[in-house]
Symmetry: D2
Subunit: 482 residues, 4 copies
């Protein structure tokens, strides 16, 4: 397997023999399932050099392991420039797809495990780092999509892993053999699960002494025996099956699935943590920092398209010169670029780990994501304000096709005279998709919960804020002596 363009990527997915359920039915070929395809199209863009002059150098780079050219999605960041380029790549792909292209979770998982396996080996004499590099080099060369799987289903949120009535609410070790381990549990909200060749499992939280069985990390092929995928529903999802591209609004999409591990065997060479509870929290925090940085790139790219759509809708309706419209668009830009600033800042302030790779500045990465949990809602609100109520009252594509209504619609839904009615409808259908349709799942809900819910960021910010040092500043300036 050596995937090097969108076509070979899509073809590679067709060969996977997985246990997948979509809307209540077994699905043996996800890539040609119209409900799933838009999300595969978004991933496929990561394989596409594209027309943007800067794209090639952002999407592809050189492996520090092999010296060969690889996808940046499989790269270990070697400098703050690499961290910045990651954000720029994400913004670029957000601009192309206006959705989640699903390949960042794996990338962020690689970069977290790279340094933690190193430190774990130092602390415990384990063999994980070399194993992980072997795996990673294979990933880089084969260029497969690896889904990063962290979030357990968690059951009762007021109970720790070991305290749940059902021990499987957190994925855990159920057996250990000379050749490997057996695990059971389920990972929820798995982004791009059906578009991935591999699954990279990580623990969902910092485990404590006595919770060793939950401190496991490993990689398995997506078609490993015992794994079941159930695709999640999204708003307006079945429009993808209607054959009405106009009503679809965006031909790219995102995807999440529930992934169940029913006593799955993992060979030792793919196990990267197994019981080292003191390392589990570090994986979570580093992965989270990288992934919170990511949102300062991808969602900004989506924001760019939404700002363009606002301007276009206003142009088409004759309102783009109104001062309140211009002011709202300026505000959208302001909010969007504030997110970008956060993505850039935590990258530019990044630093080397003991393993030599670069990680983001974690406080600023959490700041980044916490803003992402807020601003896209305001951007979406402003966009809907500019677009007008028509986004939820537009007739269907079929009404535009029906000769009994087509002329009426053509006539009465026209905006400015020079623009074809259907062009206006197209951009409004796109806005519908992004703010109350399928795209809202990725742009709004995922912006809240992806890479951890807001409270997770607040806890990290509180922890990383160095309040003690700030108290000393206040004491000094207030002339308070202890």
């Amino acid at each position: 397997m050596n995937i090097n363009d969108p076509e070979s990527y899509l073809e590679s997915l067709r060969t996977l023999e997985r246990n997948v359920y979509v809307l209540g039915e077994r699905c043996t070929n996800t890539v040609d399932n119209p409900l799933v395809r838009p999300s595969a199209n978004a991933v496929a863009e990561t394989y596409e050099v594209g027309a943007e002059p800067e794209a090639a150098s952002l999407l592809f780079t050189t492996s520090h392991l092999s010296g060969r050219e690889i996808s940046r999605f499989t790269h270990i960041h070697q400098s703050t420039d690499d961290l910045v380029d990651k954000v720029l790549m994400q913004r670029l792909l957000g601009r192309r797809t206006a959705t989640c292209f699903q390949r960042c979770v794996g990338m962020d998982g690689f970069n977290a495990l790279y340094s933690v396996t190193h430190e774990c080996d130092e602390a415990h004499g384990t063999p994980y780092h070399a194993r992980f590099k072997d795996y990673l080099e294979w990933v880089q060369d084969s260029n497969v999509v690896v889904e990063g799987a962290m979030t357990d289903v968690k059951g009762d949120r007021s109970l720790r892993p070991g305290e749940q009535p059902d021990p499987d609410m957190f994925l855990h070790l159920v057996d250990r053999t000379p050749e490997g381990i057996v695990v059971r549990g389920a990972k929820a909200h798995q982004t791009g699960a059906l578009n991935s060749h591999e699954i990279l499992v990580m623990p969902t939280t910092a485990m404590r002494e006595g919770e060793e069985e939950f401190a496991v990390s490993f990689a398995v092929p997506a078609d490993t025996k015992g794994i079941t995928f159930v695709l999640g529903r999204q708003p307006s999802d079945t429009r993808k099956m209607e054959g009405s591209p106009l009503d679809l609004g965006n031909r790219y999409g995102s995807q999440e699935a529930l992934v169940i591990f029913d006593d799955v065997f993992v060979p030792s060479e793919r196990v990267f943590m197994c019981g080292e509870t003191d390392q589990s929290g570090k994986v979570v925090e580093r992965f989270a920092s990288f992934h919170r940085q990511s949102y300062g790139g991808c969602k900004v790219g989506v924001g760019d398209v939404l700002i363009g759509a606002a301007q276009l809708a206003a142009d088409y309706q004759g309102s783009s010169k109104a001062s309140h419209v211009r002011d709202k668009i300026t505000e959208m830009v302001h909010l969007n670029e504030t997110l970008f600033c956060c993505g850039i800042a935590c990258s530019a302030q990044g630093r080397a780990t003991e393993a030599g790779n670069y990680e983001v500045e974690p406080l600023l990465a959490n700041i980044c994501k916490l803003n992402v949990t807020r601003f896209p809602f305001e951007i979406a609100r402003l966009l809907q304000d500019i677009a007008g109520g028509l986004i939820v009252t537009m007739p269907s594509e079929k009404d535009f096709d029906n000769p009994e209504t087509a002329a009426y619609l053509e006539k009465y839904l026209k905006g400015v005279d020079s623009v074809p009615t259907l062009d206006r409808i197209k951009v409004l259908k796109f806005i519908e998709n992004m703010t109350v349709g399928c795209g809202a799942a990725a742009y709004l809900t995922e912006s809240i919960h992806g890479a951890g819910s807001p409270q997770a960021q607040r806890i990290m910010i509180s922890r990383l804020a160095n309040l003690k040092e700030k108290v000393e500043l206040a004491k000094r300036i207030s002339h308070i002596e202890d």
Copy 2:
């Protein structure tokens, strides 16, 4: 016709012979169309006494015309208490349906035209007020649903009605006969159009001299010759046709349609304005004030259900004791009740018109609506925050039905042990509906644009703010003399 309960209401709709299009097909029986039915169910609640002790006195009252008991939706407000009761009724129905129950536009239209026809007759010697009262008494007795139709399609927003390349972009008079008038045009975003027996047309903006043809107001039966309805799409709308009540999330719904008037004849006795441009702005402003008040009731009722859903979801997941969850719920309550304060205040500060009926305080009504264009988005964001990402990653009802996946889902999507998994899923599917699904059209987008877009409120606030008087206050206290 004398509709007095939900059943007779639904039955009455079946008899209407209208020209309706739904998803590209002619639909002769809207009420039994599964895509439309949830919205009819919401309207039907206005005919239902219901279990709430205060419901009867809120939903029904005594006609000042006939002295007979009538639906408050057909009532002319006789006091500030009536204005307050209107808001309380709307909150109650919002709590029942968690959506738009579609009957307020007509009610607000009645109350606007009641005073304006009176003043028009005073100014121009026209016969509109008596005509309008005759019509209204018939409405009160028959208890039909009357759709208020104001918003024209408007074409190029930078051009006035008379300046549009296509003169039909604003509904207008095309002929006048001894028996009545003929009109042409289209009204967009018509709430509850397919669930209404009658259409009450009003001008969309204040017309100026030379724009007489656009200053028309009248009522016609929905099945009048020349009228065509095209239903608008909403997010996730076709879930209503899937036969998956779980995935539907809310069995009530709202509805908007495009209503086209292709040379429709209106008999004189149903014409309430025809060319009196100086009266048109008053209809718009008074209707808008009443309708902006309305949002301080209905959306608050929906908010109540959403707050309950947040608490319920948190209870079911074991997170309701976390201080950040409690704090977010408090914030949701705070925002929701602030909207209620605005709805109550503009009612309590209402005043009598020359015609004797009561109108709301217009500045405060605009304040009310402008807050409604903002707070529901924040409430929805907080609700999604508390509910978790599962709202956009949950499997379908069909996956819960499929024996190959059912046990997995039952097991892994459980929250606290004492609550059946499906109960948790039910409330999350409801939250999905309300924040990114079908219900978001009514709770979010309509909150921006219904009763006029935010800028319309800002213009009115600026106009009604009495800045001159405030400048005098500032001069006095700053000891500035002219």
Copy 3:
């Protein structure tokens, strides 16, 4: 004593023989102390009929005890109309003074104690209600200013009253004689303390069993033996002593003091609670509700002047036609009127107590105040935005007087040609006062902490929100059965 105009009010203050400290010195005549006078001027406005047509009926009303005309500040609200009129009176006085006129705490204390003394007598057979009415009738007839004293100094916020290392951190009973009681402690932030004839003490929080000594309420003359007042500092306070009215910005002011009770004797006929812990929480909650309503009036009146000042400053600088300036002023109006809506709503939704007087709707009163803790900061920010940086870089009045600089300032600080430079400076000095000067203490800081800090409102909102009922709504609509 029968105070009936500003002059007799000021004269009456001169006769009080109190123990007052101002900036480190004993002050025997506060009213003629230039540091204190602006705050007395603000109180004096409550005795002034004034030029506004509605003022007389708002400021004065009829006693339900005596049938005589009284100041509304001494009135027990008899209806929701009375509650609304209270808010309108407060807005009117806020418009006159642009500051805190200090007489509301007493008024709100009267109305809280009126119903609680009644209920206490019912529960405990105590004689408080009749005593309180006697006292109140004397207050109404004499028309004295009564300071409401609730907030204890509280020491360590993590400890209950009885747990403090120093038991005096909450005012408490230290002795009881046949003729009365002796109390010790201190009340902080006492609004208008130096401008009051009487002090009405109330407990600061809901006391529990074992905390009887802290559950005391009583009234004493301000010049009672053992009471010491220490005036608090405010920003720019000494400008009042400079003799530079221009630099002062606002000739009205507010005032807070620390009031220390060092074994003060209170005769029995002025004791309204003594040990009835179950009643103490009710006093706090009812007082708080009334006082949180108050902010929906007074601060709105101040907001009116600030909006006028924004418009005036823009007019004087030639910027008032810029769309962003108009938009900011509209936003200021919107925020200010939202606060007014809350003040009106909790009044209009008020209800009778068992004692027959009317209290506000407590949930909405808390909503009101919580908004007041936020919006004035945004109004002040917008005002500063419009006014320009000159508010903190303007030369002093003395520079305008100095012939070496006067001509330069006259020339270079001119705005539009038609407006004298000093008129522009006057309004900017007023804005300075209100946003970063002395007036900011009342408009900003007091808006956060007066009538309880934000968290106090949030706790009440959470408690009053009836989440259980809302959960039932969510269950019903989600088809969840227990």
Copy 4:
């Protein structure tokens, strides 16, 4: 002159023979004037190596002109690392002084003029760049403070420079001799004017053809004949003269003055622009970008101290474990670090000019400043919330000194038992200073208006947003073809 520590800096100011007015009086020695001194102390910190390990490398660097060590405040940025270090230096000094240290305007002016003089010479054959480098090298070696003077008084904001009734409302050329030029006008809000040795004048806006006389830039010593300084007032300014350090709150301060140029002669070798209108807008935009970046450093440093003060005040009052307090402090950190992200991002994304020096990314610099016009107000509001109302009701230092009140205050203003009362008062007095006192001028008002008012940033954001490109993204994804 070769200033190399705080003492020599202060001494150097004493030798300046300037025409300065302070509170209406001529002031010949500003540095020993107690009203001015705190602001000189803040500038003096820029000469102090200090205790922070990173300070030396941030405050001092190597001149690219001479290779000698210089103050970074006189440095021309040679890389994005330099741009980042500038922000870090500003944060460090903000943490030391909690105010404006006044030396950035000059630094930002140097960096703007460096590239513009180069481009001007290319376009017009002028000799400015070499002249400017000569001047700069002298500044670097002498290490003087140079005030950057941009903002004209501007008169009627609706009129252009040439249209004002009084032509002097914008500083302009009035004569030209073989040796130099003569200018007239006034610069307002001049930060640090009384603490500077030199004034570097720049045009206030982009001049157009016909406005040549206003397109002037030059440097003059502060004690040049014809220059008059009038110090601006700040809230609570005279506390600095009371000899009450406790009440002062912060012994550092900021400063703004009006600087009048009454026919001032400038020798040719100090003239850097004279009539090249096409270059004037570039100076304004580049200076503004640098200065908008600056706020992402200095105000963040101040924010650090305020966050520390919030934590300290809560600790001292026993409230720091309350979840709402912790949550508010987390929010303060979040807002503060978001500003820092913006400061870092516009630096890290900086780029080389044609002259070889580095400038910030201008869109992100404007984003930075626009956030600064908002967040400090929310930070200040949260700080006041945590600190409590005592910040505006505390007695004066003199009351703590007066034996008749001292014991009462010591007793009753105590917080937790282990902390001396005066320590609690100290931090609260600091908070008073920063939120409603003298410090609020720098932290709040200056955050709005410094480096241009919010609308200036919005205009730049709108201009730099590349909406055309974003429209193309929206068209592509919506399948709209032209």
